[in-house]
């Protein structure tokens, strides 16, 4: 069985495992105050080319989202996001559990537009009695998005600009940041992200680590007391060095980006193979998630040897599915898949 179901099926890259083993009996302070965390922060800052950011390591994405959003919003504020946004659909109401409404806006291909943010703000401000409705207090976007698509640099610039105009901090969920940056045609760099977002995180869990997300706080006014938020939200890992070791390994010499490119190049081979056989796609994804639309009988026959996600029913006879590659996907499994794709019409 070849695995394309998700990007978190394996453990971690071998170099991470080796480093964990080597350092296993070393005694360090807990809670992210050890020297590996310090070094990992330095390595990331060096990649970002800036020193004026705060970096915190959390274990998972839902936790990172809930913690960051909790740290930004006032109680009566909500977070604007695409209706496909992870916080809106796949976090069991963690944001609402923290007291905040997720203000979902219509998305196109998983992306949010600057115009829709502007409209939401104008609608709110023009209300007769705005205090009867939730005040938009920040914007959340995902890079790459939940459907594999990415924003062009200009789109993020426009979003950032409208955010600044209305005083809305911009938070970028980077659970798949590396895969987004390595996407075909991507004109965005991690430095761009850092100069346009107020907060963002760099995902480790889906990108070669056992677990871990590196939250980068750029906006000075959002830095204060963030560790209290981490602890209160149950995200303060006792042996924080585990996170430091992993991010240090990923960022000290570019491993993170190498692994991202690996995954994307294999995903694009899968995309091209389906396209060559005239399959259509749910969205035009340039990254590590591909969503071909399969006739149901083909979906079934492929599922005998390949594991993938059933994404969305298109019509009675067709289903969009997701093939996901990762840092751990092998050439061999991609070759097998490509070989197995049947012609669309027979």
């Amino acid at each position: 069985m070849y695995q394309f179901q998700c990007d978190y099926s394996e453990g971690a890259h071998q170099r991470i495992m080796d480093r964990m083993l080597e350092t296993n009996l070393e005694q360090t302070p807990g809670y992210g105050e050890d020297h590996y965390c310090t070094q990992a922060r330095e390595a990331i800052k060096s990649v970002l080319g800036r020193n004026d950011v705060d970096i915190h390591f959390l274990v998972g994405g839902t936790q990172a989202n809930a913690t960051v959003i909790s740290s930004i919003l006032r109680p009566y504020q909500g977070v604007l996001c695409a209706d496909t946004g992870h916080i809106n659909v796949h976090e069991t109401g963690a944001i609402e559990h923290g007291g905040h409404k997720v203000l979902a806006l219509p998305s196109f291909d998983g992306l949010l537009s600057a115009e829709s943010i502007r409209k939401a703000m104008e609608d709110h401000l023009s209300e007769d009695g705005p205090e009867h409705t939730v005040q938009p207090g920040m914007v959340y976007i995902s890079f790459s998005s939940e459907t594999g698509t990415i924003y062009a640099l200009q789109q993020i610039q426009e979003i950032s600009s409208v955010c600044k105009e209305y005083g809305l901090p911009l938070f970028i969920d980077g659970a798949r940041m590396g895969y987004g940056l390595a996407s075909e045609g991507c004109d965005v760099t991690l430095s761009d992200i850092a100069s346009l977002a107020d907060v963002f995180y760099i995902g480790g869990t889906k990108q070669g680590a056992l677990f871990g997300e590196a939250v980068v706080i750029v906006n000075e006014s959002l830095k204060k007391d963030f560790r209290y938020f981490i602890k209160q939200n149950g995200g303060m890992l006792a042996k924080g060095r585990l996170l430091g070791i992993q991010f240090l390994t990923l960022f000290e010499d570019g491993l993170y980006f190498d692994l991202s490119r690996h995954a994307v190049s294999l995903a694009l081979r899968i995309r091209d193979a389906f396209a060559a056989k005239e399959y259509e796609f749910l969205a035009d994804s340039p990254s590590n998630q591909q969503f071909p639309i399969l006739p149901n009988h083909i979906m079934e026959s492929l599922s005998k040897d390949f594991r993938f996600s059933v994404w969305k029913s298109i019509d009675e006879n067709h289903t969009a599915v997701r093939f996901c590659t990762s840092w751990a996907t092998t050439e061999e499994s991609v070759n097998a898949l490509i070989k197995a794709i049947p012609p669309l019409y027979t």
Copy 2:
């Protein structure tokens, strides 16, 4: 200036004011444990024709909604409602502040369908890993709705039926319960409401009282410890007898229904007058709120002598507005309005 802006512009019906004055220096226990509250509960039970319900008096609608919903849902559950539902759009996120996602479903004319509830449940249950999404835990509908429309008895029966099938308590927001029941063509009675809902409330604020909403808990399993919820949500009025006196006056001899009929009959005269002059309406409302669509120049000219709500822009030149009648609306003001409606085309 004639007032049609809302149904809470005046104080209370004279009989309520008189009763408050008469009883003013009487000494009673606080917090809803006085004999007026007891009598008011009896009066409402008598109208409902049943004794097996718990009745609590709260001050306002947002408070009633937040308190009831907080008492029903588990932390990971959300409340299904129409996207036009008051809890979704006009309560500043009070439900989310209590930790719960409002699961808004597409509405038609402000109403929710049994089918959409069923679909939401099936979608949730059929997910691969439903625990990653908010579990629907109850259903909220408004009677009459926020756009003046009402459910037919059969529609509520269908909703109640699908709710029972999936174990979802049904909560009916009756901020305008009386106006709904008095609507043209309404085939629903308050007894029907009590036999189909698990909890509902009977609005006083917009229906002749100074303030107050009577929460009726029908479902045995939802009765326990409700007073704790009231207190925790800041809704335990110290001089609770003020609520008892008002609801006693409204329900001991049918005043509530008389006032409701009064308001609706005047609203229908307004509707008929606009219709006679070929105006169209945003929704086909049989109750005390009417939403004619006005050319903007007519909207402006009418606004010189009449106060009404601007509801929704229809196009560049037309706007839907709301004319609202209440227990306090006078024949005279309605006559003046009817006389002032210009022909649509001149």
Copy 3:
């Protein structure tokens, strides 16, 4: 039966009732934006001798406390208060429901000391890893306190001073503000309160109104968007003018203070009568609540004609009880009580 059980047994002062009746059919905007609210704000500002405060009217005390505290604290902060504070013991966890820990400190006679606040802050700041504990974020005191006692001006100055030193907003719960200010020996004025507190409220419910608490926000940085907090916490009264009318009547010509003095002078007569017969007291209260310690057989015999609260068991044979006077207490009932007090030893 003579009533001394609490200070909210009756309705409202006759002048309030009259004004409500006179204005009953007037049409006004809702939600506190009517001209009575405006005038009431002006009347209070005039008494305070300052224009630079924001004033909002809420219905009840628990609601006022939850709303104000929610508007001040960040999610990881708690509120320092006396362990006898109303928010700690009698609000069913409303503050915790809003996400915040009540950080109760030992009280003396219902009061909090500047020293204990300083110690709490120093303890927190000196922790190795303060982010593992709740950060004190504000201070709550009651004037008069839950046990009838009052702070001397110097005590509040010291508390305010330590609050400023540590950046802790000071919030004064004035559910019984008038009774406190009218207390025997009180050297505090409402202007002092306004110059020392960051936020406080002036209670109406227990002081001559049907209901209502006037929240006064002094600190500029706490004013923003407060109406959102009111709405979200279910405290935005539709017919807000009811609050405006009441506070206007209480404050336009000193009625509030007259009523307070009336209640306190009667309470002191009760105190003196018990003292003259050598009864002891739970606390030395100079305000409208008196807590004599009664032998149980005397408690029982008095309870035949007088209603009062059982407060605290002192030992097997003695109980502290509470006699409460209010704006509505009559000379006659106090005379009857005084006459009925038996000698302590017979």
Copy 4:
């Protein structure tokens, strides 16, 4: 420098690291639904000698506490615990963030008594208007406690009995469960815990794992939908197998208990060495945490070669400190410490 500061300074036991390495590239489903988690659950059930429990693996203790407590309490309920309880003092208000008051009761040596639970319940139930106060809804105790002490079997039986009498689920925080069970004189077994608690967890983080706590739900009525709680609270680890692998290794052949005994025996040697030199202790701990009281000059001289925690100032000249051993503590370091302890009086 010899490390006795805490029990989470190192990574994990070598066998855990080996197993992680071996399985690193295996592809498994996420979120705790893999076969390692299944096997780990079986291993723990086998040790417990019962099959009728649900087991879930979470990453950390604060998360486990917040998630379990959130799953048990109704919104107006609080959790009874010792004032020294971890949830009361060291979790940055995570429980309050979830909406619940921590009802701290006086502790003796870090323990809670059945009597104090009974008294808290009786006090609540005997209130005139209990709905004005937080209702106790469950009991939380720690085994071993935050100060190293343990409950005797009879004490837990008494606590469990009073809990059953009042319908309070009993939750045992077992962050140091193994060290507690291995304590000198302990007459409690893990099976006892399972038969007396409604929910408990078995700590991994401090007991040989990289991280992880195994929540065991015994009470049938608390099992429903627990995975929703985990996800909502940010505790659903994507690569859940990491938790499964660790707990499988710890429980398949008794490693967990071996490591616990190792730590405790070394701690007792430290205790005996201090006692032999006539030092006193803050509490009489039979487990892996020892709290000798040191003259400050001795504290300083020892701190040159040994790292330990400063726990509590006793008087001007004396301080209670904590020496903590763990699965990773070496004989050598204990020997060094014992040798270095100076006579108390010289």
